[in-house]
């Protein structure tokens, strides 16, 4: 089928009026300390500011954890592990987790608004995805707490001890849940370092821990930048390191941990292929492409950033995709109708711009819809590169932004070869109405998660993790428990 050129743009009669979510529900204090041993204390490092990336407004000042602060946090976590949390009846640990999960649900709107303010993501996503999923992770793992002996992980799985966890800025609260819930359910205590640009929901979570009467020291939250993270990872009394973030930092953590007794899980970058065959449900595939790359402004390690489309439907799919992208609403993250919010930081915006410019310089064709971006804050329009070759940097490097690279293939074998031709291996997508093809291709893809006729769907029951430079270990599901247990053997 051929597609007629789109009709000339007409003024939209149905312009949605602003529908802002009220920010009065959050109460941001002028400054925040660290959360150590159940209390908020001032950090001894230099305090830093966190801003709203949509406006560049300074939201508050946050303490930075020094090596000495991290040491105190690890000591508190060790005490709590030895005296309270480790020996506690597993069913009682489960009760605390259920309580935390319920409190998260009760205060969901507060968390969602705070997340959107600090991160820049649309309220629709923080409200409908991040926070409900974070609560779901606590509910799911609460259920495991007293059933570990029956999880098929060996006769007597034991906790590791103190977990040092470092999380990224793209899903601040959700990544906290992915880390803290399994660690606590398996009987470990944690020292968590949230990302420098998005510490606020983790600090609100510290209040939830107090509200839930969680014993002091079970959860410690130490804010700060890279140096604070390094202190957590390199601390001698940490038994387990869990990191989600860039491959570059992941490699340095792997080097730091090498030769120690610490166990390590890494969830790193990605450059996922989203493969669209010519027998795909095209309208839903277009939705999936949009969801795959523009969800959370493309700040998603498993984003479907490489669209592999069968050459015989390339023009039709691109035309549909461009029409669909034209309807995306970019702007105020707190507006309930916003689809794409702000880029998280000036630094990330600079990287997205740099890689996009390189894409053009290397010969790919850039397409962006007409869209008016706000004057202040960090913004990048949804972007599609066509005529991308596998040798281009935008086909190889993780952009971590709303930038899609389109490549074509002719046969299923070529699709698999191109999809696997990356140093990463976190996720992939397959779009076809043919069930047998889904099963065959999924088995050939070297990616930890393969979505079929959907993309970027998450569930606490489903293990998540990568191949190759996307990291090792799994989070979520029964598999995710093994990363926090001694003597766990998979059956």
């Amino acid at each position: 089928m051929t597609t007629a050129p789109p009709s000339p743009a007409k003024p939209n009669l149905f312009e949605y009026a602003p529908a802002p979510e009220s920010r009065s529900i959050v109460d941001i204090k002028p400054s925040y300390g660290l959360f150590i041993d159940g209390e908020f204390v001032d950090g001894t490092g230099e305090a830093f500011k966190t801003v709203n990336p949509a406006t560049e407004e300074v939201l508050t000042e946050v303490s930075s954890g020094s090596v000495a602060d991290v040491d105190r946090a690890v000591a508190a976590a060790r005490r709590a592990f030895t005296r309270v949390w480790g020996p506690m009846r597993p069913a009682d640990r489960g009760k605390y987790l259920f309580r935390i999960a319920r409190l998260l649900q009760e205060r969901a709107r507060e968390f969602a608004v705070l997340e959107s303010l600090d991160n820049g993501k649309p309220i629709r996503e923080s409200r409908d995805v991040d926070i409900p999923l974070a609560a779901a992770h606590f509910f799911y793992h609460a259920g495991w707490a007293d059933k570990l002996d029956f999880a098929g992980l060996g006769p007597n799985p034991r906790p590791l001890g103190v977990a040092g966890q470092v999380i990224p800025w793209n899903f601040p609260m959700l990544m906290l849940a992915w880390k803290v819930a399994p660690a606590l359910a398996t009987g470990n205590t944690v020292v968590l370092k949230p990302a420098e640009t998005t510490p606020l929901t983790a600090l609100l979570f510290a209040e939830i821990c107090q509200q839930a009467d969680l014993p002091p020291g079970v959860v410690n939250i130490v804010t700060g930048a890279g140096e604070t993270g390094r202190a957590v990872v390199e601390h001698g009394d940490v038994d387990k390191v869990a990191f989600t973030g860039s491959t570059e930092v992941g490699k340095s953590i792997a080097r730091a941990v090498a030769g120690t007794r610490k166990s390590l899980t890494l969830e790193l970058g990605g450059k996922a292929a989203n493969i669209v065959f010519d027998d795909a449900p095209i309208d839903q595939a277009v939705e999936g492409i949009v969801q795959g790359i523009f969800f959370n402004q493309g700040h998603v390690c498993c984003a479907g950033s490489r669209l592999l489309v069968q050459e015989n439907i390339h023009d039709e799919v691109i035309a549909s995709l461009q029409r669909r992208i034209g309807t995306l609403r970019v702007g105020d993250p707190l507006d309930k109708n916003t689809d794409i919010g702000a880029i998280n930081s000036a630094e990330q915006l600079a990287r997205i711009r740099e890689l996009s410019d390189i894409g053009e310089a290397e010969g790919a064709v850039r397409w962006q819809p007409e869209c008016v971006l706000p004057d202040r804050g960090f913004w990048f329009p949804p972007t599609v590169f066509t005529d991308v070759s596998p040798a281009h940097r935008i086909a190889r490097d993780e952009v971590f932004g709303p930038v899609l690279s389109v490549l074509t293939f002719r046969t299923p074998d070529e699709a698999v070869a191109k999809a696997n031709n990356t140093t990463y291996g976190l996720s992939a997508g397959i779009w076809t109405e043919k069930g047998s093809r889904i099963l065959k291709i999924a088995n050939q893809l070297r990616a930890g998660v393969v979505w079929a006729n959907t993309f970027n769907k998450f569930d606490p029951t489903s293990p998540f993790g990568g191949y190759k430079q996307s990291g090792y270990g799994r989070e979520g599901g029964r598999h995710g428990l093994t990363g926090y247990l001694k003597g766990a053997t998979h059956s």
Binding site: M1, T2, T3, A4, P6, S7, K10, N12, L13, F14, E15, Y16, A17, P18, A19, R124, D128, D279, A280, P281, I282, D283, Q284, E287, G288, T327, K336, N337, E433, N453, T454
Partner: protein
């Protein structure tokens, strides 16, 4: 709240504004044989039900407030085909409905009239007389509505009778039995014949999606009806559950969007049955806006087949105007 009516195109329902369908060139050969037509319809891209449902769920979260809501309520009122399709319908009931169609809210004369009054063919004359030169159309269901189980001669006679009684629009039902048996060309031929019997009357083709069940069938039936010359594709008779659902409406809107892109001919969409609240109507308008596009946001191209919906729209309109809710006794029963 005079500003609420500015959006309505005064010529929206006049005959002069109607676009006659152009020949559907790129597809003129697909109906040359049963096999060719079947290959064409089965070659349309499939619809993934889970994906379609999640798309409408996401669009259902759109928050339509203040000025956008005022515009949408007036637009929705102007798109209503105010319907009565009961065995107990009488001339008195139809006249009463016609009066409501002309002046939906006697307390606020700025309220726009509805698009049409929809009745059985034998009462089209009563509706015609009651509506006079108001510009409100008379729509009549025909072709052995709602089951469509009668010979073609009977169906054609039914259509001609309704047109002779003054119907501007004919709402026909497709032969679902033939469709489900795979006799697509029979279904097509019947629509072509009905279209011819309509003369200048607009033809709405009811797919009865509650009996076609799958979204793949909805897409195929939509294309079939558009190729056969239907001016509108309509979801349901209202006599079968489920009637209009958002995923079905999504697929039909995608079909008219793609059909125009490939033929240049624009076809209207009418969900009917089960749309009762202002919120339901808002969700449909958002779906239209973000699927087929704003070109479809007029009574030319989008209708609601409904009866109780109108009163809820009127109550919400009063709420926007006065700032407080009233109650069912502040709108008229018919």
């Amino acid at each position: 709240m005079a500003g609420m009516t500015h959006v309505l195109d005064p010529d929206a329902l006049s005959d002069g504004a109607r676009l006659l369908p152009a020949p559907v060139d790129p597809f003129s050969d697909v109906t040359r044989s049963d096999a060719a037509f079947r290959a064409f319809l089965h070659g349309l891209p499939g619809v993934d039900q889970v994906g379609a449902e999640s798309r409408v769920a996401m669009l259902g979260t759109r928050s339509i407030k203040t000025t956008a809501k005022a515009w949408a309520i007036d637009t929705a009122i102007s798109m209503v085909d105010l319907t009565t399709l009961e065995g107990s319908d009488t001339p008195g009931k139809v006249r009463s409905l016609a009066a409501k169609a002309r002046r939906p809210d006697p307390g606020d004369l700025n309220t726009p009239p509805v698009a049409a009054v929809c009745v059985y063919g034998d009462l089209a004359g009563v509706a015609r007389q009651a509506l006079g030169n108001s510009g409100i159309h008379v729509a009549a269901v025909a072709t052995a509505f709602p089951s469509g189980r009668a010979s073609r001669a009977i169906k054609i006679a039914d259509v001609k009778d309704a047109v002779a009684n003054g119907a501007d629009e004919i709402d026909m039902v497709i032969d679902r039995g033939a469709f489900l048996a795979g006799r697509y060309l029979d279904v097509y031929d019947e629509i072509v014949a009905v279209k011819e019997a309509c003369g200048t009357a607009h033809l709405k083709v009811i797919l009865e999606t509650g009996e076609l069940v799958t979204l793949d069938n909805v897409r195929r039936a939509s294309w079939l009806a558009m190729l056969a010359g239907g001016d509108f594709i309509k979801t349901s008779t209202g006599k079968i559950a489920p009637a209009a659902t958002l995923p079905v409406c999504l697929v039909m809107l995608e079909a008219v969007r793609d059909f125009r892109a490939q033929t240049g001919t624009q076809i209207g969409v009418k969900p009917a049955g089960g749309i009762r609240t202002t919120q339901d109507a808002m969700k449909h308008l958002v779906l239209v806006n973000e699927t087929a596009g704003p070109d479809w946001l007029s009574p030319h191209w989008f209708r609601f087949g409904a009866s109780s919906l109108l009163n809820d729209l009127l109550l919400q309109r009063q709420k926007l105007r006065t700032g407080h809710y009233s109650g069912p006794d502040y709108v008229t029963v018919d």
